[in-house]
Amino acid sequence: MKRIFPILAVLSAAFLAYATYRNLAVAPTDELQGDVYRIIYYHVPSAWTAFLLFFINFIASIEYLVSEKPSAKAAARWIVIAIGVVGVIASFLPQVQAMLPTGMRPSAVATTVIMIPAFYFLIGWLFPGQRLDVLAVTSAEVGVVFCTIVLVTGPIWARPVWGIWWAPGDIRLTSTLVLWLIYVSYLVLRRFSSSAQTQMLAAALAVFGALDVPLVYFSIWFFRTQHPQPVIGGGGSMDPRMLDTLLMSWMAFLFFAFLVCWARFRLEVMKRDVEEAHAMESLVGAGAGKASVPLTRSSR
């Protein structure tokens, strides 16, 4: 890691700089909003990255919860496979397609559904045992950082376009704020609880927290909101140059998020090693103390 990480960090900085240059200089100006619309190139990729990280946290938390019992682990594996198979078949049934909002493609639904078993098995294979919990805390923390950016850049964009900083009662805005609060409470629980059950409690909270992610994402598909309707895959149209720039910006942020997660993961492993070493040290100290007690008593 010592060798490759700085190289990747430099590459990430260059990629982000290039993406920002494209955001500001290459993408065309929006006819209605002018240049302020360029906030989309930071706001939307940050939201997508946060959703992906919370999804990883959700999968890692489920796997951690079932990891204790082999029967639960086997059941979860079959449930995940069933979700993938049934979800893909269902997304192409005419009855299900009729329920999809306008502009949502069945292939997009099938791809999203197939991601659940794909991520489940990939994460389980790459992060066995306690590493699942380390991945969960890592993805939650970095996800909160990206979600914070969404909540900060959103009102800055809303002010010149809507004339207000925040639309109270808007379901997209409120559900995003609730999502952020859930994951902040998850991190607070992990930081300040000293119970032996903290990891399990946090994993359970993460599973409930993840239920808010689809609500945030689909809120603009199913409800009329102050927040704009989806411009990608939602029947809306976007200039191809704008779309290219948006996807490029997302790739740059994804790469950056991957590196930050990598560093945070290493930090968490290191922290646990130090805590273990401290615990061992105090055990050895206590053992020495206990050994000295009977000696003192017998000497009396």
């Binding site: 302020v36 930071y42 900060v152 800055i156 130090v274 070493a277 401290h278």
Partner: protein
């Protein structure tokens, strides 16, 4: 255009948040390194 200041503010805010988070990571990393050194000495 006056709205451009909002664009600049959003971009600056993004990097301030990322920068602050990275600074906390570096600070935590240094703290752990120090603790590891102390443990190594004992």
């Amino acid at each position: 255009m006056n709205a451009v200041k909002f664009l600049i503010a959003a971009y600056i805010a993004t990097w301030v948040i990322h920068g602050t988070y990275l600074a906390t990571l570096v600070s935590r990393f240094r703290g752990l390194k120090r603790q590891m050194k102390e443990l190594g000495k004992k």
